[in-house]
């Protein structure tokens, strides 16, 4: 099995392997981050550096079904960021080769 070969026994191992790597983080509230992971804990509190945050703001177009929404994207950069774990949905390490 792949997971046995790569030495992953519990989900947190996946994140440990991503320390000092750039990771993608999906957060509640239609927010996404990419940044270099420096620390995490069991709550999934994170400390990231060189962070780019993307906020997706969906404007519902009046009287239309889905598909007619316009999505506004706001981006900003932060040097060093603590992210509270309760907002985290997903963490994905970079693609390993």
């Amino acid at each position: 099995m792949d997971s046995a070969a790569s030495g992953i026994q519990e989900p947190f191992d996946l994140i440990r392997l991503s320390l000092s790597e750039r990771v993608f983080v999906k957060l509640r509230g239609d927010r996404e981050l990419t940044g270099v992971l420096h620390a995490y804990d069991g709550h999934m509190n994170l400390i990231l550096s060189d962070v780019e945050e993307t906020i997706m703001i969906v404007d519902q177009v009046e009287g239309s079904a889905n598909g007619q929404n316009t999505v506004n994207i706001a981006k900003r950069k932060i040097d060093m960021l603590f992210v509270r774990g309760d907002g985290v949905i997903l963490v994905s390490p970079p693609l390993r080769t």
Binding site: V36, H38, A39, N45, I78, L81
Partner: protein, 130 residues
């Protein structure tokens, strides 16, 4: 516990706390506890025009659970130390103390604060709910 230690090393530094209700408060980190509740001094709200009720507030206590982000001063964060401590798994305040002399002062000031807390002090407290 690791993150708690990190915040302790950052006491008396300027940080920006972004709350889940989109309020951003910049101030000097005065203290933090195990729940990551935060006390800030000399605070300034990012968009003051939108939050006029905050103008008179000079310091605040922020419940940890309403925090979304804290922007940290990068120059005061030892990323190598963080990664090592995270890999090691459990990190106590002690493991970080030995590597940073500044922490000895933090510990002293902790003791001093504990002693002070016997004296009733008035703090303006903001309660922000998600």
């Amino acid at each position: 516990m690791l993150i708690f230690s990190v915040f302790k090393t950052l006491t008396d530094q300027q940080v920006t706390v972004e709350l889940k209700n989109d309020l951003s408060i910049t101030g000097v980190l005065k203290s933090v506890d195990q729940f990551l509740n935060i006390r800030l001094d000399s605070i300034k709200v990012l968009d003051e025009a939108r939050h006029p009720h905050m103008m008179a507030v000079k310091n605040c206590f922020i419940r940890g659970s309403v925090v979304r982000y804290v922007q940290l001063p990068a120059e005061h964060v030892d990323t190598q130390l963080l990664e090592d401590a995270t890999r090691r798994g459990r990190c106590t305040a002690k493991t970080m103390t030995v590597t940073k002399t500044t922490i000895a002062l933090t510990v002293l000031s902790d003791l001093w604060r504990d002693a002070q807390s016997c004296i009733p002090t008035l703090y303006s407290t903001i309660q922000v709910f998600h």
